[in-house]
Symmetry: C2
Subunit: 199 residues, 2 copies
């Protein structure tokens, strides 16, 4: 009953994160209602993503060729690295302005805690980078900044195993009660962490 164009659109969009079959249809109807010019703009914007490059060192996105602005910034620390799962985490960390080292975007992790082969290649690129640019072929610190969830912990352990010979110090982000949070509603594990790591 629906035109093929809508079916094709929905089939592709329903596979994207947090978009189900119902929302994919809703998006299609909204775009159709917004008219030909808006549809063309949107199609062009999607196609434009094909021109975005991925930095061969940290795997964050950037425009242009070669390495990204963070990796090629001479002022940033060359011996400190942070492993993030997603690009959005890197953006959040950068927004704090508190971190002056470099990154590795390891990509979406499996719930099983088993690293994909392309993720091992990314960690391999980091190791090679450390061997080439750090004293004693070891990073001063690698911060494994994964979410403090069960699957984050599993994956952090797997990444630690891969990198333990390439860093003097391996660390994770501090756990505790979030700013604005209430002690009453904190779960036991968060509360225990906030006690052992009290500031």
């Amino acid at each position: 009953m629906l035109p093929d164009e809508i079916k094709t659109f929905a089939a592709l969009f329903e596979k994207l994160p947090s978009i189900g079959p119902r929302q994919a249809l809703r998006l299609a109807f909204r775009l159709i209602a917004s008219g030909q010019a808006a549809i063309n703009d949107t199609a062009r914007a999607v196609a434009g993503l094909g021109r975005v490059s991925v930095c061969p060192i940290c795997f964050f996105v950037h425009s242009g060729k070669g390495s990204c602005s963070i990796c090629s910034d001479p002022v940033r620390q060359k011996d400190t690295f942070m492993i993030v799962e997603k690009e959005t985490a890197l953006i959040s960390i950068e927004r704090t302005g508190k971190y002056r080292g470099r990154y590795l975007v390891v990509g979406e992790l499996a719930k099983s805690g088993i690293l994909e082969s392309w993720q091992k290649l990314r960690l391999g690129a980091l190791k090679k980078n450390i061997e080439e640019s750090c004293e004693n072929k070891k990073a001063r610190e690698i911060i494994i900044a994964l979410n403090p969830t069960t699957y984050g912990d599993l994956n952090a352990a797997a990444i630690e195993k891969e990198l333990k010979n390439h860093a003097f110090k391996l660390s994770r982000l501090g756990r505790g009660i979030p700013t604005g949070g209430e002690i009453e509603f904190a779960d036991d594990e968060t509360l225990s962490h906030s006690l052992t790591r009290r500031e």
Copy 2:
């Protein structure tokens, strides 16, 4: 810090229903990670929506020219109409297989209950259609199938006012306890409706 292509994409997508700035970025990163071929397929799928036509009688989408398959179906009742807000509601009604009349998609309604001028034009097209195709220039029944919410009720009242001279009967969908619902959790208004309209 983000490439312009991602900013352009996010600016367009964050305006779509249920997609905020954060999800728009996530979509961009997911599409980039999915590779050039997937990006091109997605861009083509969006552009394809530009080829979808809107039926000049009921304003539902269809492929091809002229009126849609529902409006041009000689078997469907010519004197019964259902007003729906969104295309997705029409799809849900069709899925029941219980309705054999025709439709009018009136389009997304304002919370204020005031009809937009283009929506009045759609109702005007329906009136003209009724005058031309129904006996006594009146529809046997017009079902105003808007959501049973405050703004749905406001808009239903506005639509009723527009159409009252064009139908022998104006009705709305029955309210009551949804199948699988629990009496204990039904709100007072739903429960009152289910009592007055008991089957």
